[in-house]
Amino acid sequence: MFQAILFYTFAAVLIGAAMGVIFSRNPVHAVMFLVLAFFQSSLLWLLAEAEFLAIVLILVYVGAVMVLFLFVVMMIDINVERVQGGLVRYAPLGLVIAGLMVVELVQLIWARSRFEVATGGFAATPEGYSNTEALGAILYTEHVYAFEIAAVILLLAIVAAISLTMRKREGLKVQNITSQVAARAKDRVRVVKMEAEKRQ
């Protein structure tokens, strides 16, 4: 009962936030609505006792990805009028994609309900069961090759992104921080010892 109330509240806010992403006029507001949507879906996962996924969703998407999004959105000067015009133009494409997703979801639920008995709620996990441990155990044993390949691909993406954007402009005056930090007083100041002059 209590869980059901929570579920419907979170789900309603999630849908509202998703609508907000699409319909808000201000791009910064849209980003904040997206953050709210991530939060609500993470709460739904928490209700399903998938605490690892829920927390990682917040950590990765809200804590890192959306911060960079916000950065970019704040820096560029977006013409609100033009963005609003796009909404109508891209609406058919969006509707097609949304329709496809609904069909997929319905298929999944229908297939499940044919082969399994539908349960009222999420299956409760046994006492002392750790989501994180279970995920780690599977990732590092059964799927270790796939996991390693994914890691290498990500590393490759990092290197590629850096090498694509790194460029040295000619005639740019940059400080060599290592040499600045390594500088000692005796490199800059020469202390000369000399005899005091005799009084004339």
Binding site: M32, I58, V62, G63, V67, L68, L70, N131, T132
Partner: protein, 357 residues
């Protein structure tokens, strides 16, 4: 217990539905943690001014109340009765909600912090992940404040602070990976329990580089001196909170000090054995000596020590230059943590330190 609480109150309590009982006990626990926390924030502003005063051969606040102890309350009342000015052409809603967004994560993280062996509001399996996730949310308050103000100075401050927080968070995360490897659990209570056995078996010794990196990154995360370029009075006036006044400013202030207390508490828990006593192994102190017992007192002392270090740093060091901050974060701290994680793996393999069988 039975004699202390009258029978009708017990009947009333037992008559409540179970869900309501849970809600009431949790709210009670939260209040027990939050009230002392807010008081601690108020008095840490006083101690900061006193400590820095003495370090600079001044007396510090001594006018309000005995020893100036009423100063924090005088400050709070002053801020509460000031007008909150909202700049024209600012984004009113985000402008007002930004201070809350920086305060809420700082308080919410205390939910998983164990105060002693038994008391913790939420004893969850993935406590360390929860801490990481919530500390990464504090940046929203700063960014939104800077943007919603509609001022160039505030925006510059917000950009600086956001880049800084994102950079140092990675080093912090890697340092916590090291703690996780040593503690063998994501639960903060279990991490403290893994450090039993006195000051030499705490994690600060085998994880010394990570300990240093974690605390300095914590200083950078809270935008405190010498990493306070986000406020940089000499360059960008006051950074992201330049247009905030009254209660809204007080909330930012509260969030900053709550974050400092949080970083101090986390550092004590991860590296200095949390509530454990440093003299646990000293048998000559006697069996029942309170000095050997693990208790909340030790955690408070450790937090107080790190708060002192925060103030000490502020009184000692000049502000970092911005590009050097970035260099320190990306090119020094992250490699150091990566190397030490490899060293830790070696230590675990050779079974030395906390991994001794």
């Amino acid at each position: 217990m039975g004699s202390l609480i009258p029978q009708f109150a017990l009947d009333l309590w037992n008559g409540l539905p179970v869900e309501l009982q849970t809600v009431v006990t949790h709210v009670f626990k939260i209040v027990i943690v939050l009230l002392p926390l807010i008081l601690a924030v108020a008095f840490s502003t006083y101690f900061e001014r006193k400590i820095i005063g003495y370090m600079q051969r001044r007396i510090g606040p001594n006018r309000v109340g005995p020893l100036g102890l009423g100063q924090p309350f005088a400050d709070v009342i002053k801020l509460l009765i000031k007008e909150v000015v909202i700049p024209t052409r600012s984004n009113r809603f985000l402008f007002l909600i930004a201070p809350l967004l920086s305060l809420i994560p700082a308080f919410a993280t205390w939910a998983v912090i164990p105060l002693n062996d038994t008391f913790v509001i939420a004893d969850i399996n993935a406590g360390l992940l929860y801490v990481l996730a919530l500390t990464s949310l504090g940046v929203y308050g700063v960014i939104l404040a800077g943007w919603a103000t509609n001022s160039k100075y505030a925006f510059l401050g917000a950009m600086r602070s956001a880049a800084q927080i994102v950079a140092y968070e990675i080093a912090m995360g890697f340092a916590l990976v090291g703690v996780l490897m040593a503690g063998g659990s994501l639960n903060l209570g279990d991490i403290v329990r893994a450090q039993e056995g006195g000051i030499t078996s705490w994690f600060w010794l085998p994880l010394l580089p990570l300990f240093v990196v974690y605390f300095i990154s914590g200083v950078a995360e809270t935008n405190r001196a010498p990493f306070d370029v986000a406020e940089g009075e000499s360059e960008i006036v006051a950074g992201f909170h330049v247009e905030y006044s009254g209660v809204a400013f007080a909330l930012f202030f509260l969030a900053e000090y709550a974050n400092m207390l949080l970083i101090s508490a986390l550092t004590s828990i991860f590296f200095l054995g949390g509530w454990a006593s440093p003299f646990e192994g000293l048998t000559f102190l006697g069996d029942g000596s309170f000095l050997r017992e693990p208790s909340l007192m030790w955690l408070c002392l450790k937090i107080a020590f790190f708060m002192f270090v925060f103030f000490w740093l502020r009184a000692t060091f000049p502000r970092y230059r911005y590009d050097q901050i970035m260099r320190l974060g990306w090119k020094v701290f992250i490699p150091v943590t990566l190397v030490w994680i490899a060293v830790e793996a070696l230590m675990a393999w050779l079974q030395v330190g906390p991994w001794a069988a």
